[in-house]
């Protein structure tokens, strides 16, 4: 493509990123270092003197480590099975186990509390089996709820790791493994010495994503009232942000830590990505399992799937139950909550709001994403690799940090005062959704463009087709599957977005679904039931989107979740 066009597009994208990504972050960082108009470290020293915040940071870190560990244990064996073996039921099981990704852990928390709580299902089962009496009921959520939060997040996040691992394993040229076997290295040794090193970059990409995600997760701890983590402390700090600058410093610490993990990952594993001389061909590289081994593989998938949807089954049952207290299943069923939810001032408007925000964000992402991908893949700009890296950065910055930045930049007296979310968060929410999900769309579009030879476009130009028309008539149709998948992902994640939504939507009329869910959940009495009903609706909606996406992308879906 012509360089002038590429430079214009790149400049436009970079200035948007500058205004709505780097600028809010920079302002936040600056606010953490300036007190009484002077540059100082006093805010940080206050922060690190406070044992409450230290504990929050340590808890966040522990949560991230435990969650990532759980995720790897669950997803790696599944990925190996899926990439290397065929067995009965594989095709739909591999689709099903992705489902939890679009079921927000946030909603699942309602179900988990119903199952593990002191009056919940597990205790009821134990009582029914006469192993226990109600007075001895155990709170399985655990003290401080740490493990409940970690398990809930792991059950939500393992698909991301799974997809990365499958993509990495499928990408390994099977002849490399055959060569090892040919030289007498087989089984576990072959996995450790050949396969594992080759798939390490892919595993690490997925692992970093999971780690940062759980390190900064806001929704799940909130729903479990687990308040001693940094994310929740930041959330609680917004209320009196004018009075105390401590939240700024907290945000900076979280940003630095996340960026640090990200950079560490890139340094250690990112560069050693091995080029395969030949792409792995899926044909012939999978082995048919039968009998007991097929049953075991099937069972492993089924167990993980059942565990992962257990919270959501809890949510569904809750939404249909008149009362569910000290019993294995609800004692009485009803549709009352759905009826009430329809009439409640929070639900329907929130669905409409979410669709509106998410559609606009998706549209913006598609336009920017395609433009960016064309520059990255097709132009000859020297710094197009840098552009690629910059666009991917929002993945490494936690949603809560960015949302905090938006609040900072729209404080009275700042440049974007007019966008202040206390009045109307629409613009900021759309921007937040769009910026955070842009990387997915860019990756999807880049993957598509890399698959089609540039000569297909050149052939059109050679026959007299001007560049813009060439994009419309040749390029876009050829990458449409990728774009649809990227767009659907951007859309469904925007619908699910927790931290931006909780932090930015401050007026009921503008609440998106997630914020409405949280607010409903807080309402005493029928609140949790209404929240469950709303949760079921959003699950249905998003489940359909993800299945569509998976259909469109197949195994390439993993490429979208790469850092």
């Amino acid at each position: 493509m012509k360089n002038t066009g590429a430079i214009l597009i790149a400049a436009a994208i970079l200035s948007l990123l500058g205004l709505f990504f780097f600028w809010p972050l920079a302002l936040t960082v600056k606010s953490a270092f300036v007190f009484n108009r002077q540059w100082t470290l006093v805010i940080f020293s206050e922060l690190f003197k406070n044992p409450l915040y230290i504990e929050g940071l340590l808890n966040s870190l522990a949560l991230a480590i435990v969650t990532t560990g759980l995720v790897v244990c669950m997803a790696l064996p599944l990925a190996m099975l899926a990439a290397r073996f065929d067995f009965w039921g594989k095709s739909w099981l591999t689709g099903l186990i992705l489902l939890p990704m679009i079921l927000p852990p946030f909603v699942g928390a309602i179900g988990i509390r119903q199952i593990l709580g002191p009056y919940g299902v597990i205790n009821a089962v134990l009582v029914n089996l006469h192993l226990m009496d109600w007075p001895q009921a155990v709170d399985w959520l655990g003290r401080g709820r740490f493990w409940a939060v970690a398990v809930t997040e792991a059950l939500h996040l393992y698909p991301i790791f799974y997809l990365n691992a499958v993509a990495a394993i499928a990408n390994v040229d099977p002849t490399l493994e055959e060569a090892a076997e040919n030289m007498g290295c087989a089984g576990w040794r072959r996995f450790r010495r050949i396969t594992l090193p080759l798939i390490m970059p892919g595993l690490f990409a997925g692992g970093t994503l999971v780690f940062i995600w759980s390190f900064t997760e806001l929704g799940t701890p909130l729903m479990f009232d687990y308040s001693r983590v940094t994310a929740v402390q930041i959330y609680n700090g917004i209320q009196d942000i004018g009075a105390s600058p401590l939240p700024y410093a907290l945000v900076v610490v979280m940003l630095v830590a996340s960026a640090g993990f990200y950079a560490l990952g890139k340094l250690v594993f990112g560069r050693s990505g091995y080029e395969m001389m030949a792409k792995g061909s899926t044909a012939g590289s999978t082995q048919q399992l039968s009998g007991a081994r097929a049953g075991a593989a099937f069972g492993l998938f089924a167990i993980v799937f059942l565990l992962a949807i257990l919270p959501h089954i809890g949510v569904i049952l809750t939404s249909f139950s008149q009362a569910w207290y000290r019993s294995v299943t609800p004692s009485q069923w009803t549709l009352e909550w759905y009826r009430q939810a329809l009439g409640h001032g929070l639900t329907l408007p929130s669905i409409r709001n979410s669709c509106y925000y998410s559609l606009l964000a998706m549209g913006a992402d598609l336009i920017l994403g395609v433009a960016a991908a064309v520059v990255i893949v097709r132009s000859s700009l020297r710094w197009r690799g840098t552009l690629d890296t910059l666009i991917m950065l929002p993945l490494a910055v936690p949603g809560i940090v960015l949302a905090f930045g938006y609040i900072t930049m729209s404080q009275p007296g700042r440049l974007f005062e007019g966008l202040n979310p206390t009045d109307n968060p629409t613009v900021l929410l759309i921007i937040a959704y769009a910026v955070r999900r842009l990387p997915y769309v860019v990756r999807a579009a880049v993957a598509g463009l890399q698959q089609i030879s540039a000569s297909l476009e050149e052939a059109a130009e050679n026959l007299g087709c001007p560049p813009v028309q060439t994009v419309a008539r040749i390029t876009l149709p050829l990458i449409s599957a990728n774009l649809m998948a990227g767009g659907l992902l951007a859309f469904s994640f925007a619908m699910l977005e927790v931290s931006d939504s909780l932090m930015l939507a401050q007026k009921q009329a503008y609440f998106p679904i997630t914020k409405a869910l949280y607010e409903l959940f807080q309402v005493l009495g029928n609140g949790p039931y209404l929240a469950a009903a709303l949760g079921v609706w959003s699950m249905l909606f998003l489940g359909i989107t993800l299945l569509l996406t998976n259909r469109l992308m197949g195994q390439r879906l993993g490429a979208v979740f790469r850092l």
Binding site: S455, A459, P467, Q469, T470, R473
Partner: protein, 398 residues
């Protein structure tokens, strides 16, 4: 259309891909850009198509500079090496594409007619509704050609169009493409690294090496009067023997080499006595049946290798100083090795002369030459050959 390249230079970072190329391609000519990979021939073609812009120099179409014209306004028709057929469009839609762009739009009926005629010419009319992924390589090739020609381009550009086809189909397509472009009278620029393709199809041909033009000429010129050692070796291959001019007598040049004196017919007297030269002798110019002819250019060496090629046999002959000459003999009835055919060629082998060449026979103990396969003859087998003075090409030493 005339295509004129004037002192074209193109750099990719530190690499000079095209280094001052000037060429005149005449209207209606079938012009070849020939060279080894990395010589800049594809870059030149892409510059003519407009996909990359020269750093220096001018490209003129019929005298009009087109350097700043984007590809879609150059009215060239290009056939890509990988064909670049759009997988989401049918054969018909692929071919019709060029008739649906601004400036070339035409009524649907006319479009159908033109595409139909073109597909017919390519024997592809039955496959118009197919998607490209359901075509064979040869069929895809035809669609690509039809797509480029249907727009009536001022000039047809072909980038190694036959390299993805199997050998037999390649030979057929050579004839077909040449017939087609000559019939249409269209200026054709054809990039290839296959010298046989170039020799058999080109009106004229430019030999490129490392971004420079080594020689421009008709296939016959290039083969019979190569300008330098590179061209001589690249086109058809040659034995390059270094030597020094001893004398020039009556239109003959006498050249001394490390293994004897050569005589070349040199009508132009291009070299003076004392000049350092290189002789280029085509392998097929070596006559191993040395019984006939004069004593001019008659040499003897050791047969070290015979390579059976099917339609021909290659023999490697080591000269007294260790220099290896290659000889190529073609024609039916060559049984694996030249020595047997006429017999007397093998000095010191009277037992073999005229013999029935029976493997294992007692007469041939010294000559493993007879086994019939591409066997390795013992180093001691001496062989004579001679070369006609007309076939000795004298080139400047480099």
């Amino acid at each position: 259309m005339n295509v004129s390249l004037q002192a074209i230079v193109k750099r990719f970072d530190a690499v000079i891909a095209v280094d001052g190329v000037s060429l005149e391609i005449h209207d209606g000519e079938c012009f070849f850009l020939l060279g080894p990979s990395g010589c800049g021939k594809t870059t030149l073609l892409r510059m003519i198509a407009g996909f990359c812009v020269p750093d220096e120099g001018r490209i003129l179409f019929d005298g009009q500079p087109v350097n700043d014209l984007p590809p879609h306004r150059r009215n060239t028709g290009m056939v890509f090496q990988n064909y670049a057929l759009w997988p989401h469009l049918t054969v018909f839609d692929n071919v019709a594409f060029g008739l649906t762009v601004p400036g070339r739009t035409c009524p649907a009926s006319e479009r159908r007619k033109r595409v139909g005629r073109m597909l017919e010419a390519m024997h592809m009319e039955d496959l118009a509704r197919r998607k490209p992924n359901r075509l064979s390589g040869g069929q895809q090739q035809r669609v690509a050609l039809a797509r480029a020609l249907v727009i009536d381009p001022a000039c047809l550009l072909l980038d190694e169009p036959l390299s993805n086809l199997d050998a037999k189909l390649r030979l057929e397509m050579r004839v077909e493409i040449r017939r087609l472009v000559k019939q249409l009278g269209i200026t054709t620029i054809y990039v290839t690294h296959d010298q046989k393709e170039a020799l058999s199809m080109a009106d004229r041909c430019a030999i490129l090496r490392q971004g420079r033009v080594e020689q421009v000429g008709s296939p016959r010129d290039l083969y019979e009067r190569p300008a330098n050692r590179f061209v001589a070796d690249f086109i058809g291959g040659a034995n390059l023997v270094p030597g020094k001019v001893r004398a020039v007598i009556n239109g003959f040049t006498i050249i001394a080499t490390t293994f004897g004196e050569w005589t070349a017919r040199d009508l132009h007297g291009a070299f003076q006595p004392g000049a350092a030269v290189a002789l280029a002798i085509r392998p097929e110019a070596l006559h191993l049946h040395a019984s006939s002819g004069t004593d001019l250019n008659r040499f003897a060496g050791c047969l070290t290798e015979t390579i059976y090629l099917g339609e021909a046999t290659e023999s490697w002959i080591r000269m007294a100083d260790g220099f290896v000459m290659k000889a190529l003999e073609s024609g039916p009835g060559i049984p694996g090795r030249p020595a047997i055919a006429g017999g007397p060629a093998i000095a010191g082998g009277p037992a073999i002369a005229g013999g029935p060449a029976i493997a294992g026979g007692p007469a041939i103990t010294g000559g493993p030459v007879i086994t019939g396969g591409p066997a390795r003859p013992a180093a001691s087998v001496e062989i004579q050959f001679h070369v006609n003075p007309d076939d000795v090409i004298v080139l400047a030493a480099e």
